[in-house]
C-alpha cells in the first residue's frame, strides 16, 4: 500500500538515517584506527594530534612476520645495497632480520594464527553440531524435566568464565591438557554449547514438525528426515549460530592466555606479547590485529545473508 508520507515522517526518517550513520562511524572508528596504524611509519603511530594523511607502508607487516634484533652499529652499505627491499625497511628501523644461514627466521605469528584457526573452526563445528542435535531433541521429543535441563544448560553461562580459570588450569595441568589444541577446543565447546543449544532450539521450534511427519509417512526414518528435511531448513539458524560461536572462540583471550604458552597458543594472547622491550611497537601490534580481524570479517561477510535472515528468523516465518 502506497501511503503518502507526512513531513514529520520524512523528518523522522532523516533523523534515523543520521543516527545510523553516526552509530556506524562510532563502530567503525576502532577498526579504522587499527587499520591505519597497521600501515603507519613507527614514529607516526603515537603522534599527537593523530596523523590522518600519511604515506602508507608495509614495514609493520614485515616486522610482524620476522624475527629481528636491535643493531648496535649502522649496517654495512654493501650489505644494505645487496638486501631485498623488505629487508632494507628493517635496516632502516635500526634492526636486522635474524637468519640461520640464508634462511630468514619467521616470527611465531603464523603459527599462532594457525592455532587460532584450528581451535576456532574445530570448536565451532563441534559446538554447533552438538547444539543442533541437542536442540532437535529438546524441540521434538517429550523429555522429562525439559525446562530444568535447559535451565541447567544455560546456567553454565551464569558466571564469568574467568572465575573458573584457576581450577580449570589446575585440572588441565593434572590431565596434561594445558597448552594443547584439544584442551582449548574442549573449553570453547563448553562455552559455546549452551548458547548453541538455546539458539538452535529457537530455530528448530520454528520448523513445523509436519515436514518431518510428512517425510516419515513418505517412507523415511527419523534420522533420514532429520538430514534431508530438518537440516536444510535449519541452515539459516546454523549459519547464524556458527558465526556467533566462531567469533567467541576466535576472540577469546583470558583462557588462551592462562592455558597456553607455546605450542597451542592462539593469536589473541600472542599479539600483545609483541610489545617488546623499550618503546612499544604499536604498528606491529596493529598489523597483527588487523590480519586477525580478517577471518571473522570474511566469515561473517560470506554468511551475511543467512545471518540477516537468521537474526530476524521468527519475524519472517510467522
Amino acid at each position: 500500500m502506497a501511503a503518502v508520507r507526512t513531513s514529520s515522517e520524512v523528518a523522522l526518517n532523516r533523523i534515523a538515517i543520521v543516527a545510523v550513520l553516526v552509530a556506524t562511524l562510532i563502530f567503525l572508528a576502532p577498526i579504522y584506527w587499527i587499520a591505519s596504524t597497521a600501515f603507519k611509519p613507527k614514529e607516526l603511530a603515537v603522534s599527537v594530534p593523530p596523523t590522518v594523511l600519511f604515506q602508507p607502508e608495509v614495514t609493520p607487516f614485515i616486522r610482524l612476520f620476522t624475527k629481528r634484533v636491535q643493531m648496535q652499529k649502522t649496517v654495512d652499505p654493501q650489505v644494505y645495497e645487496a638486501a631485498p627491499w623488505w629487508e632494507k625497511r628493517i635496516y632502516d628501523g635500526g634492526e636486522r632480520v635474524l637468519k640461520v644461514g640464508k634462511d630468514v627466521q619467521l616470527s611465531q605469528y603464523p603459527d599462532r594464527f594457525m592455532n587460532s584457526l584450528i581451535v576456532a573452526i574445530v570448536s565451532t563445528v563441534l559446538a554447533v553440531g552438538m547444539g543442533t542435535f541437542t536442540a532437535y531433541g529438546f524441540s521434538r521429543f517429550k523429555i522429562a524435566g525439559e525446562a530444568d535441563l535447559l535451565f541447567f544448560i544455560l546456567s553454565t553461562r551464569m558466571l564469568p568464565p574467568v572465575v573458573v580459570a584457576i581450577p580449570m588450569f589446575l585440572m588441565y595441568r593434572m590431565v596434561g591438557l594445558n597448552d594443547s589444541h584439544i584442551g582449548l577446543i574442549i573449553l570453547y565447546i563448553a562455552f559455546n554449547l549452551s548458547f548453541s543449544v538455546w539458539l538452535m532450539k529457537g530455530f528448530m521450534d520454528e520448523i513445523p514438525k509436519e515436514y518431518e511427519e510428512a517425510a516419515l509417512v513418505d517412507g523415511y526414518t527419523r534420522m533420514q528426515a532429520f538430514f534431508k528435511i530438518v537440516l536444510p531448513e535449519a541452515a539459516t539458524g546454523i549459519a547464524a549460530t556458527a558465526v556467533f560461536c566462531f567469533i567467541t572462540a576466535w576472540n577469546e583471550y583470558a583462557f588462551a592466555l592462562i592455558m597456553t604458552n607455546r605450542r597451542a597458543q592462539t593469536a589473541p594472547p600472542f599479539i600483545p606479547s609483541q610489545i617488546g622491550s623499550g618503546l612499544p611497537d604499536w604498528t606491529t601490534i596493529a598489523a597483527g590485529t588487523f590480519l586477525f580481524l580478517l577471518p571473522v570479517a570474511i566469515f561473517t561477510f560470506l554468511l551475511r545473508n543467512h545471518l540477516l535472515r537468521g537474526v530476524t528468523f521468527g519475524a519472517i516465518r510467522k
Partner: protein
Amino acid sequence: MTQIELRGIEKFFGAVQVIHNLNLAIADNEFIVLLGQSGCGKTTTLRAIAGLETIDKGDILIDGKAVQHLKAADRDIAMVFQSFSLYPHMTVFENIAFPLRATRMSSGEVDKSVREVARVLRISDLLDKKPSALSGGDMQRVAIGRALVRRPKAMLMDEPIGALDAKLREEMRAEIKRLHIKQGSTTIYVTHDQIEAMSLADRIVIMHEGFIQQVGTPDDVYSHPANLFVAQFVGSPVMNVAEASVADEGGAATVTVGGAPKGFEFPRELLTRLNGHVANGGLTLGIRPEGVLVRHDAAAGYVPVEAQIIEPLGSFDIVDLKVGSKMLRARTKAGYVSGPGEKVHVRIDPEQAHFFDTASGKSLGVRL
C-alpha cells in the same frame, strides 16, 4: 485392494482419554470422512492410522495385518497435511519425487512417475518452481501429488483444504472427488466442515469427545441422525430442536413446543409409535428448517405465529418464528415473509420430524 480396520482403539494424552473404544471397518476404495469439532479425536485417529501417534489399546489392521507396532514408513500409507507440508527447499518436482527416492527407484522411473502424477493433477508446468512461488490451490495439488505418486495402500487427508479460501475450497473439493473416482484408493479424510463431508464421503463417521456418534452414508446421517449431536452437527441451517410434549386430542396427536397455547397436529400413529417414551416426559422434537412449513393464510393444522428475524440467504430466507417460548427456524422462498412482526401460519411436516430422548439424546427411531 486395501481394507483398514480399527478395533477397540483407545488413546490417552496424559490422564485425558481422547479416543474411546473406537471400532471401524473401512472397505477397499471407500472414501471415509471423519467429521467432528476440533478436539473430538478425529485427527488423532488419523495420525494413529498413519503411525505418527501411538495407541494405548486396540488394533489397527491394514489388509488384515496388525500395523500398530510398525513405523509410519513401513505402513505404506500416504498423508496430506492441512499445512501442505511441502519441503520449502525443494522444487515441486523434488517434492513429488521425495517419497519415491526413499524406495531406491531408478531416476528414469521416478521422472516418469512424477510427470504422470503432475499430468493428472494438471501441475506439469509447475514442476521447476519452489513451493513459495505457488498459490494455495497449487500447493495443495502438489501435496496430493506427493501422496499419490507412490500408489500407497491408502490416502489419509487431514483437513487438506481447510487452509484455502471459500471459492478455492469448493474447486478443490470437486478435484479431490474427481481424483478419487479416477484413482480409486481407500481414503480417510478428516474435516470439521459438514458440507465437505457430505459432498465427498461414501460414509461419514461423526465423532464427538472421542466417541463415534454415527457411521453412515451422507443421506443416512442427514435423514436418520442417531442422536441430538449428529442431528445438530449435520445440515445447514442447523436442525431445530426443542423439548416437546405429545397429547391425544380428538383423534389426532398434537405436539406442543415451548409451552405454546396450540400444538402441532401429527397423525395419531405417532402416539403408538412413541409409546412408553412420552410417559418419561423427556421428549425432544427435531425438525430441519425445510420441515417447518409456512403460509400467509390460515389453514387446517396450521398454527398462527409471529416472525421475529429474517435472514435473507439469496436463494432462500431463514425466518425465526416465535412458538411459545421457543424459536423455530423455517426455510422459506426468498422474500416470502416481508418483515419482522408479520403474522404467519406454520405447520410441522410430520414426515420430516425426528424424536429424541432428552436425557440420553438418542434418537427414538420414530419416523412417520
